[in-house]
């Protein structure tokens, strides 16, 4: 699948079938995460792949933004110690979040190319999820990516038009390039 097609086709999936995600699929998806750009190449990230139904149910209990019961999920975490040591305050507070976001997007696009659905979730309790997963204090869960076979693919939500959000060359020139 072409990248552009995956970008257009990806939807936030909130209902999954019971079909499991294979280990090979998860490996492929996780491999794509570590090839995301990383500010200063710090790579202060860590991923916990979860396929155990009991653990997924437990995480869901503390994740109001997670819907349905996905057969797999990846908990994308910031390695704060590494981020601070190599990236300072900017690394810990900004770059790592940017890096993780790009890693999650990679995973979702690759999942889409494999025929899987995904949804990125930030509405979860970080303390509870840390405790459930046994994460040390220096590893903070930032995003969840649910994965599975979609039971329902929602229609594409509206997007703000390009003309409204793109300015060419400098601010104040929103609209088509030719229209300036």
């Amino acid at each position: 699948m072409e990248v552009q097609e995956a970008i257009r086709r990806r939807r936030s999936i909130r209902r999954y079938t019971e079909e499991r995600v294979t280990h090979e699929q998860l490996q492929t998806i996780l491999e794509s995460a570590i090839w995301a750009p990383s500010g200063g190449n710090i790579q202060a990230w860590l991923f916990v792949a979860v396929t155990d139904e009991r653990m997924i149910r437990d995480i869901k209990a503390f994740a109001p933004g997670m819907f349905g019961l996905p057969p797999a999920l990846v908990v994308a975490c910031a390695d704060l110690e590494r981020a601070r040591a190599r990236g300072g305050r900017l690394g810990a507070e900004v770059l790592t979040i940017c890096d993780l976001s790009m890693a999650c997007q990679n995973m979702m696009l690759v999942a889409c190319s494999l025929g899987l659905g995904s949804c990125v979730v930030r509405s979860f309790n970080q303390t509870a999820v840390s405790r459930l997963l046994g994460l040390p204090a220096s590893i903070r869960p930032e995003l969840l990516v649910t994965l599975g076979t979609p039971a329902r693919i929602p229609p594409a939500p509206p997007r703000r038009p390009l003309e409204e959000v793109v300015h060419w060359e400098r601010f104040g020139s929103a609209g088509s390039r030719e229209g300036r």
């Binding site: 109001p64 509405s123 309790n125 939500p157």
Partner: protein, 102 residues
């Protein structure tokens, strides 16, 4: 008649629901305002699910759940439609409450 298994199941379902409610409360401190009503209506759907699992469901609740599923995601695309759905659901529930228990 309630069995020990039913009671165990009910305790787990309700405990998980409790976790959801408190996590929602903690998260809503920093989340967008509209997430509040969304979480509450999502909680309503979860209550219906629990009632169903405990053998307390009925056709009204099934229909209500379907309605919630159909409309709750409007919160992201159609705010007015989402609010109208909430208002209509309250009216429906008021009528049903009267019909059931008065």
């Amino acid at each position: 008649m309630e069995t020990a298994l039913d009671a165990k199941k009910a305790r787990e379902l309700l405990f998980r629901y409790l976790c959801y409610l408190v996590s929602s409360a903690a998260g809503l401190v920093d989340e967008p305002a509209l997430y509040g009503p969304f979480r509450l209506v999502d909680a309503a759907e979860r209550v219906i699910d629990i009632m169903g699992e405990l053998g307390l469901g009925d056709s009204f609740l099934t229909e209500l759940r379907e309605c919630i599923v159909r409309h709750k995601e409007k919160v992201m695309t159609d705010e007015q439609g989402f609010v109208a759905f909430l208002d209509q659901t309250v009216r429906t529930l008021a009528d049903e409450l009267t019909r059931r228990f008065d």
